[in-house]
Symmetry: C2
Subunit: 333 residues, 2 copies
């Protein structure tokens, strides 16, 4: 009866205000994704997996679960797929390892968890959530983080689990290019753009539960050929992930710029302090990153169920589900 | 002649506006520092070292050097002293190691560098600066960061260099207490406060050079008895360190709260978006951290040479130097 009333209310609100209320938004990475370079088969595979992730997240809500649980359910699907640069499909470091980062933030009390530089945790997002819920810390790294995850009963895998042919070939391609053109690069002397597979495919989700709590999560394998234990924006609260009572954000793209722009926090700050609407705040932040020389995209979901998914790359794997279970999935601009 | 004109201008401005212009502000950590627990000898030692750091930073300016160089000069003095929880005086992890974090941000172009979880780099702030200036990345961690620092010609030391009796005794004390009272703690179940030496002594500096560029840097050994490769706020851009063209900030305190509050970025965002003055923005941020249950302090310096040094602990080692070289150093409220 209560459910029927809720459905009726949703129907009436949608009818009168014409505004769809979303409960979850996800991304599977932004990059040089063009129709020309894509086969129909590959496109279908990506769309199917994004849909599966949205359904998994939405299902949690129908069980009355929290936004943190919905984010976890969606991200685990993407981590377990070789299609995305997170979990199973993580890219290789220069040392031929798969080095994973992830983070989560719950808007209600601004609690947060993150892990960086792990090689054996099957689902990094679960480890980030365990850090948030079961430790006094926000961020754990390397072997210590793996030890913690094991103690928490999370699934530990042989590092070989993360080996995929596509990512291995990607590393060889980047290394070959690097050997041919060993330019010294720094923050003040950057290439105009990177190889598509160098910083592509981070996954993320933002969800809004029935109690109005927003959670945002991000998971990644980082950049192909990354060196020296590089940590990108994905595990950095305020850069790749942020949530408060008003909005949640997950970023994907050239991580160094997302850190320097404190991207996720900037979206929230523009809303909190300047009263900007979600779409404006999100777009302005991507514009600022572009102005700095960076690229990428982000997804954001506010407390009223509005979404924004701006990006300045050719494409971004993305999708959203409304409160009545309607799913939208897109790839190109 | 030009210098004389500048001096005259400073004199006139100070005379007419009565406002002292600061060029650098530093901190050596916030915590339960009370007059009762302090000896005169110890107080003198802290004040002398803070003064030495301010002089070293100021000296760089007299040579026309940049704010980044001034921050480095001041922080190196503090890192090389066993008095502060950074470099030589770093606290011990649960695994009986000294695990160092540091970061730097230059406001002009928002370039940034950070290192986390290193054991052999004598001056972590120098490594953070090398990451900013010589790499394409913002954040490096663990052995990878050490490898990078070595390649950059930075001084590498035996991990034993960081052993000090005081920190070792501090770890034993905390471990003993932990064994007696093994309470399960998490972000939602935190002790009212930590042992003084568990999260105390992070150092930082913010400087404003003649060209108007602001740089902020932070360096720390983290929390005594930290586990699982814990990373605090010090190496997180937007949490422990932030700078833009308007203001620079370095934080010190209970790192987990500084991350969740995106403390340094929040000070800057309140100024950028709400037009709050430096003192208000800085104080409000510390108030927010207190409300969340955290404690600590921060230093901030704006483009006009105003400073703020709010903290909600009993004391904070802190000091500032004005453009004409006047030095102020304080410990208590």
């Amino acid at each position: 009866m209560k459910n029927a009333a809720v459905t009726l209310f949703i129907f009436i609100s949608t009818f009168f205000f014409g505004q769809k209320k979303y409960v979850m938004v996800i991304h599977g990475g932004a990059g040089t994704i063009t129709r020309e370079a894509m086969t129909q088969e590959k496109e279908n595979a990506y769309k199917a997996k994004l849909t599966e992730a949205l359904k998994a997240g939405y299902k949690e809500f129908t069980y009355g679960k929290t936004s943190v649980e919905a984010v976890a359910a969606a991200i685990v699907i993407l981590e377990d797929s070789p299609l995305f640069n997170a979990g199973k499909g993580a890219v290789f470091t220069s040392d031929e390892k798969n080095e994973l980062d992830a983070s989560i933030m719950s808007g209600k009390n601004k609690s947060a968890g993150a892990i960086a530089g792990v090689h054996t945790i099957k689902n990094p997002i679960k480890a980030a959530i365990a850090v948030m819920e079961k430790s006094e810390h926000v961020m754990l790294s390397g072997e210590g983080a793996e030890k913690f995850a094991k103690l928490q009963g999370l699934e530990i895998v042989d590092p070989k689990y993360f080996w995929t042919k596509e990512r291995w070939d990607g590393l060889q391609k980047v290394k070959k290019k690097e050997a041919q053109n060993p330019t010294k690069i720094s923050q003040n002397n950057l290439p105009a753009s990177y190889e598509i597979d160098q910083k592509f495919g981070t996954v993320g989700a933002v969800a809004l539960d029935r109690k109005g709590n927003i959670a945002a999560g991000t998971s990644t394998g980082g950049m192909t050929n990354k060196k020296y234990g590089r940590i990108g924006d994905a595990p950095i609260i305020g850069a790749g992930t942020y949530a408060n009572t008003q909005v949640g954000i997950s970023g994907t793209g050239w991580g160094e710029f997302f850190i320097r722009a404190t991207a996720a926090r900037t979206v929230a700050a523009k809303m909190e302090y300047l009263n900007k609407d979600l779409k404006t705040a999100a777009q302005e932040t991507i514009d600022e990153i572009e102005k700095m020389g960076g690229d990428g995209g982000l997804i954001a979901l506010d407390k009223d169920g509005n979404i924004a998914m701006p990006f300045n790359t050719a494409g971004m794997y993305r999708g959203a589900v409304s409160e009545n279970g309607e799913i939208e999935v897109e790839i190109y601009k």
